[in-house]
């Protein structure tokens, strides 16, 4: 890629260190997808509304389309690729599957990261709170029913089939 | 979008009309405008820069008086330009009518402003407000210049390199705030000479940072 002066970015993604030279205008989303080939982070609108690109940066759910790669220098980034351990789905992922909380799956990584961060921050007690936690991401397929149930399941520690 | 402004001027209607039917006079009053070349036949090449916060667009094009009626004292100025980044065009058709009013004249400025491209594709009414302010400012500058009794502004030499239009800079010494809604000048931020100096004067006892 023929670009202007690059800057060095070092940090971790899902615990793995990275050290790359990037064009300053490269967004975090494109950095993850193109430089690190972590293509689970998707671009749905590139203006911060749809939430498909949501990742966790230093513990906070963040739109990867509204952050520059140079800004994660020194940061710990978490993406959908880091949720399962050794092929074993995390409880939230299992709940998504059980409740048919995904269809085309394009928005799914963003939902998973948003909810993962939200459930670390606060407990979710009822459906209204579950809907609130989900409201920063758009899904065109499911109508949200399975998503709401999944959040409630995980919040209540329910993991049966 | 058709925007109408009217104002009273303490000047002879024919004088006012003479001023208005000169494309250069009016085009130079357009906020953010720079006339860059006299194309002859009362047509001028120029640029208009629109800046609303971080949103910028720069249009290059031609302004020309396309209709004149000295008897009815009406003139129509057409300014047509395209965005330098290819993302659209701006077109203003300003119909100016001068009628006697008491001792002076009444000017009606009806401007049909059409902006195409990205800037025009907002659902929120920002561009309507921006257009309204731009045309409002155009009217106030026209009025200001007429009242200052300035003759037609000197046309730039043909093919000369861009110079700031004279009217884009308030006459020196005149406090900016006295001009009619001149807060508008902040809005579509024209590069105003001396602005920094004025700000410096307004700063309250500066204290060092930290």
């Amino acid at each position: 890629m023929l670009e202007q002066a690059t800057r060095r970015v070092r940090g971790t993604v899902n615990g793995d260190p990275f050290d790359e030279a990037v064009d300053p205008r490269l967004t975090l989303a494109d950095f993850l997808r193109e430089k690190l080939r972590l293509t689970g982070t998707h671009l749905g609108c590139e203006h911060g509304v749809c939430g498909a690109c949501t990742v966790i940066v230093d513990g906070a759910a963040t739109r990867a389309c509204l952050m520059l790669a140079v800004q994660v220098d020194g940061a710990a980034v978490e993406t959908v690729e880091g949720l399962a351990t050794d092929g074993e789905l995390a409880p939230l992922q299992q709940a998504f599957k059980r409740n048919h909380a995904l269809q085309c799956g394009f928005c799914t990584p963003g939902f998973l990261m948003s909810v993962t961060a939200a459930l670390r921050e606060d407990t979710v007690r009822d459906e209204a709170q579950a809907r609130e936690v989900l409201s920063g991401n758009i899904c065109r397929c499911t109508g949200y029913t399975g998503l709401v149930q999944s959040v409630l399941d995980v919040a209540n520690g329910r993991s049966d089939a | 979008m058709l925007i109408e402004n009217s104002f009273e001027v303490a000047a002879d209607p024919d004088e006012v009309y003479r001023f208005l039917q000169d494309a250069h006079n009016v085009a130079a009053c357009f906020p953010g405008a720079e006339l860059t070349e006299d194309l002859g036949d009362d047509a001028y090449q120029g640029k208009v820069k629109i800046k609303v916060g971080p949103v910028t667009a720069a249009y290059q094009g031609v302004a020309k008086v396309v209709e004149r009626d000295a008897v009815a004292r009406t003139a129509v100025l057409l300014a047509d330009g395209k965005d330098s980044r290819g993302s659209g065009t701006a077109k203003a058709r300003a119909t100016m009518r001068v009628t006697p009013s008491g001792e002076g004249a009444n000017v009606v400025l009806a401007t049909d402003l059409t902006i195409s491209g990205k800037l025009a594709q907002f659902g929120r009414g920002i561009m309507a407000d921006v257009s309204g302010r731009m045309v409002g400012e155009l009217a106030s500058r026209v009025r200001q210049r007429i009242e200052q009794g300035e003759p037609a502004a000197p046309a730039p030499a043909a093919a000369s390199v861009a110079q700031p239009a004279p009217t884009a800079v308030p006459p020196s010494g005149e406090p900016r705030d006295e001009a009619p809604p001149m807060k508008a000048a902040e809005l579509i931020r024209i590069v105003l000479a001396g602005m920094l100096e004025r700000w410096a004067a307004r700063l309250r006892a500066p204290r060092p940072v930290r």
Binding site: H42, Q103, C141, T142 | T89
Partner: protein, 790 residues
Amino acid sequence: MDGPMPEAMIGARLPRREDQRLLTGQGRYLDDLDLPDALAAAFLRSPHAHARITAFDASEALALPGVVAVFSGADLMEIQKPLAPKVQHPQLRDYPRLPMPPEELHYVGEALAVVIAESRYIAEDALELIDVDYEVLPAVGSTAAALRPGGPLVHTGDESNVAVLLTQSAGNAAEALSTAPHTLSEEFFVMRGGGHSMEPRAVAARFEPATGQLTIWDTTQSPHYARQQLSMIYEMAEDDLRVIAPPDVGGGFGPKAQFYGEEVVIPWVAKRLRRAVKWVEDRQENFVSAMMERSQTHQVEVGFDADGRLLAVKDVIEHDQGAYCAGLQVPSITTSTVPGPYKVPNIDIELRACYTNMVPTSSVRGAGRPQAVFVMERMMDRIAAHLGLDPAEVRRRNLIQADEFPYQVGIMFRDGSPLTYDSGNFPALLEGAVERIGYDEARREQVRLREQGRYLGIGLAVYVEGCGLGPYEGAKIRLTNRGRLLVTLAAAGQGQGYETIYAQIAADGLGLDMAYIDVTTGDTARIPFGQGTFASRITATCGPAVFEAAKQMRARLLDTAAVLLGCDVSEVDFDGNHACLGGDREKSVSLQQLAQVANIGKHGITLPRGITAGLETASYFSPERAAYASGAHAALVEVDPETGGITILKYVIGHDCGTVINPLLVDGQVLGGFAHGLGNAMYEEAVYDDEATPQATSYLDYALVSSAEVPPVELFHIHSSSPLNPLGVKGAGEGGTVPPPAAIANAVEDALRPLGARVTRAPVTPARIVDALLAAASVADSVAEKKKVS
């Protein structure tokens, strides 16, 4: 021969096979595919709704480091051939839609040049450096403007903006209306809206000079359709074109079933440059160049008797085709959907489809049905209000009864057959919805709350949805050399769960556990013929094909096993992945062994006697005509007359799509469709101004519903099997989308009836509700007058 099956898979509520990869970020969407050294493409799009290109200069763009090529439409004249409308009509005045017009542009967003560069960033830099001069021409921003005599023309030099005028009629509506005891009329408008799959469109291509083959990855819903079009435009053999819809496509909803200029340009440019080229539409492009739908104006008149029984319906429909006719499917579906579930003895429907300078319209989930249902269901409520009857009761009196199937409506459906409902039970759907919404109690509550100045409303909508359209869909099943059953579909999925559903169907046809069955989709190199995923048709066409191919394969497998086991075929059945004699695993052959014998064989050695080579079956299913799914929705809302805010208190969906393959997935389809329908009911507006400039080009101005807007839904099913296919299935993908605008609008007008506000437009937004209340307050007199006249 069909032995006892394991547990039936058809009807099983199973989680999906696709989910594991999608949940772990391992999905393979088009932009995720590894195409080493692929160049990025970006299209230059018209900023004008109607303009002529007078000068084009890309020299500055070409000089930018990293830019490989720039092609204008004029540079690619060899591919400037019209993209045919998907659904035609002899009277259609078709205006050629070129892949990248070299001269005149007809909507904001129409592509006029493409930049190929080392990265998308650079390609977008280059777009800003291309210098184009346009002669801006007058534009048409609505159907009303299009049909206005003497108005501007969408296409310079054309004689009018009318695309086609069509009529559908049964009986004699004019006479029935003139003699009807009561008539009511109204004008309704349904707004433009988009598909908005979360993954926008994308195309990538690579040319292999050694084989002369062009491989195209395309997010299309119809890879075989794309191949057919490209084969004609490129004048290439179909076998030299391989169109692959990637395993994962991020939603379709109709716009991806259409065929676009970008799909023609990108592969051709890849071929010319001998480089892989990838174009991924961004959201900004998607807003102005992906096809939309919905926009229609209806002038409807109904005649009815004192009991509220319909005597006649007349509807004049203005349909917005956009700048070109991409197909007449949508308006033609609308014309045949107007009568809906009701017995209407006299029907007169007139369609005026016209061109406008807006992005072309074509099918979006629901495809012409939401508009028709909106009109008919609004009028059912108006009839009830006019006669002082209950809206549910008026519907009861008009519904086609469960014993009246097959029911001939008297007009034609868009598949070319007489509109004939195959099966259903509309009264059961209505009663189920009425009961679950708590209708009677809600009516009492409505009265109580009105006394407190609160406005509760109940909205009902019943619909019939033509689905499962022809001409055919097919499937192949092969025993692979590794001993697994591979089901190959031509259809491409966009999240419907084909890998799961078709494994379920195949499992029942084969009598084998799903664990031994794989499903692959959407690749023209794997199966020669196909139509595509659209019109809620795949389960009802591909389903029977898979089932039939599976049954044939079962017979072939058992025959082969019987030969090897030296017994009669009736003595063989499957146990796991073994065919066993008399249920004895000791006396069995594995699927792997069957493949070894019948497929792999031994080079030069004669096959064992009785073995037929090649364990592969194929089946194509052609439905005799469309099947008809149906449903009833009921909404209970409260409207805040001060803000116009609508709160949905309860929502019930009754759904009938015949046999259900996987209830979990069908529920997902219905609820997802409902959310889309709710968007059309309350939020989504692809507004264009009078100059045909799009005004809603980001998600800041175009509102998609989130979890906060979509209420919980009580969903129930009834199952009226279709007699038109062996599985008894009907379509489920769109039904949820069809009635919400009608149900919500009915509920809102019902809520505000004491205040006289009239809802004639979808979506119904807070601002329009308040505007309607103000209008009602100021024209209360004239409304009363109108009532008296009619």
